[in-house]
């Protein structure tokens, strides 16, 4: 039933009330009638007039909207930062039992960073970067040890990882706040537009680190440990003579179908990635031409749409980080003409830093079989093969 009744003025009626612009006959424009229509048209037209005659108004309006969006996300980022910081303080107090309040020191460590070397003259930059990273890492660990005197060595490593996560989230918050305030101060729409565009990725990273902090506080394995887990699975029960070859890195030996397998991995169960590049370099320099194959196993960032735990093979060195460890293996393998092979387990960035998923743990078993097949398929009995399991060994023995 039609409840609208048209009046001559062009204003429709619904249950006796005025209903502007409803049920108007074609050709009868709004505002052609009484005062109300005229006011409504004016209200409608004013913004368009402003946009037309004052182009800056449009930009200001857009800027305000973007700033509000960034501000909302910045507030969420602060909540995440505070949560991770709170968890870090609680864990340091619980495991480290410091005699003094560690809050001030933790806040200082959250802003601690290593200045990268000058790259204007890139000659020798790998050595400089290696040195700086080692000094930074040692200093950081020393500071963590000082605020957690009761923590065991592996717990100090876990606490360093946890503080690392706090540092990352804190840096994200500070950088976003910087661009937000700078954009607001200078009214630079292009600046705030750029930060708004990358905010979804920043929030995803922050959320991943928030979840990672829970795993790190409890010493649970994380997705990044997949490579180390593969090496530990192969070595389990069969390895012998496990010894430290570089800081936080061990090597052990085992026989695999007549081949001598040298297994390199970080020293678990504390959270560390060790110095696998340095370890492989030392081993090759010691064994020289006897080494016939180097295999690295690591987690790989998957592409969107790909399944977690998918195993890929590649030629080359699979190690992330600064590139120093990768460089060392490449150099030594080139020097002695040793083939380098890689086995990779696909996972997302979030999965790499959060507690290990079942699919990744299962993929590690599958990858172990794949590594064994590569060793037996690519080398003859009597050969020496280096297997480097790359990744964080938190919760992996």
């Amino acid at each position: 039933m039609n409840v609208y009744k048209e009046r001559e003025s062009g204003i429709a009626l619904k249950d006796g009330k005025l209903m502007p612009w409803v049920g108007l006959p074609v050709g009868q424009a709004p505002g052609s009638g009484d005062l109300l229509s005229f006011i409504i048209s004016l209200v409608w037209l004013i913004p368009w007039m402003l946009i037309l005659f004052f182009p800056g108004f449009n930009q200001k309006l857009q800027m305000r909207t973007i700033l509000m969006d960034v501000e909302r996300k910045l507030a969420k980022l602060k909540v995440i930062r505070d949560e991770v910081r709170g968890r870090t303080i609680e864990t340091v107090k619980r495991l480290g039992k410091p005699s003094e309040d560690p809050v001030q020191k933790i806040d200082e460590l959250m802003e601690f960073f290593t200045i990268p070397p000058e790259s204007m003259d890139p000659y020798g930059i790998v050595g400089k970067l290696d040195h700086l990273m080692k000094v930074g890492e040692n200093q950081f660990e020393k500071e963590v040890r000082a605020i957690s005197p009761a923590a065991e060595e592996y717990q100090v490593k876990n606490l360093s990882n946890l503080l690392d996560a706090s540092q990352t989230v804190n840096t994200l918050y500070r950088v976003v706040r910087h661009y937000y305030l700078l954009g607001k101060k200078t009214s630079n729409i292009y600046l705030v537009l750029q930060i708004q565009m990358i905010m979804p990725q920043i929030m995803e990273i922050a959320e991943a680190y928030r979840r990672a902090s829970t795993a790190l506080a409890k010493g649970q394995p994380i997705g990044d440990g997949a490579g180390a887990l593969v090496a530990a699975t192969i070595a389990q029960d069969k390895e012998r003579n496990r010894r430290e070859i570089a800081k936080d890195t061990t090597v052990s030996e085992m026989d695999l179908d007549g081949r001598r397998l040298l297994i390199v991995r970080a020293t678990g169960p504390g959270g560390t990635t060790g110095r696998t590049g340095e370890a492989v370099e030392k081993l090759v320099e010691r064994e020289k031409k006897k080494v016939q194959l180097i295999i690295t196993v690591d987690a790989q960032l998957k592409l969107e749409g790909e399944d977690t735990g998918k195993i890929n093979e590649a030629v080359g060195v699979a190690i992330g980080g600064t590139g120093v460890e990768k460089f060392r293996i490449e150099e030594v393998s080139k020097k002695y003409d040793i083939p380098i092979h890689a086995v990779l387990i696909s996972e997302s960035l979030t999965e790499a830093v959060t507690p290990m998923r079942q699919s990744i743990a299962k993929a590690a078993d599958e990858a172990s079989d794949r590594v064994k097949k590569i060793v037996t398929g690519m080398t003859e009995a009597g050969a020496t093969v280096i297997l480097a399991g790359i990744g964080n060994t938190i919760g992996i023995g």
């Binding site: 409890k218 010493g219 530990a232 169960p269 998923r357 079942q358 743990a361």
Partner: protein, 53 residues
């Protein structure tokens, strides 16, 4: 979850993760034979995928 296996009778077991657990650590006794248990894996179950309409 922490997943364990008995080194004697191969009974598999699982329990919530406890602080100090790590993969390949020998811990606790087998509920069946009293043998040593070893942690074979520490991982979280896959999140259930949302059903599409």
């Amino acid at each position: 979850m922490t997943h364990l296996i008995c080194l004697s009778c191969k009974t598999e077991n699982s329990r919530p993760h406890q602080e100090g657990d790590h993969v390949f650590k020998e811990t606790g006794e087998c509920p069946k034979c009293g043998g040593k248990m070893m942690i074979t894996g520490i991982y979280v179950e896959e999140p259930k995928e949302k059903k599409s309409r």
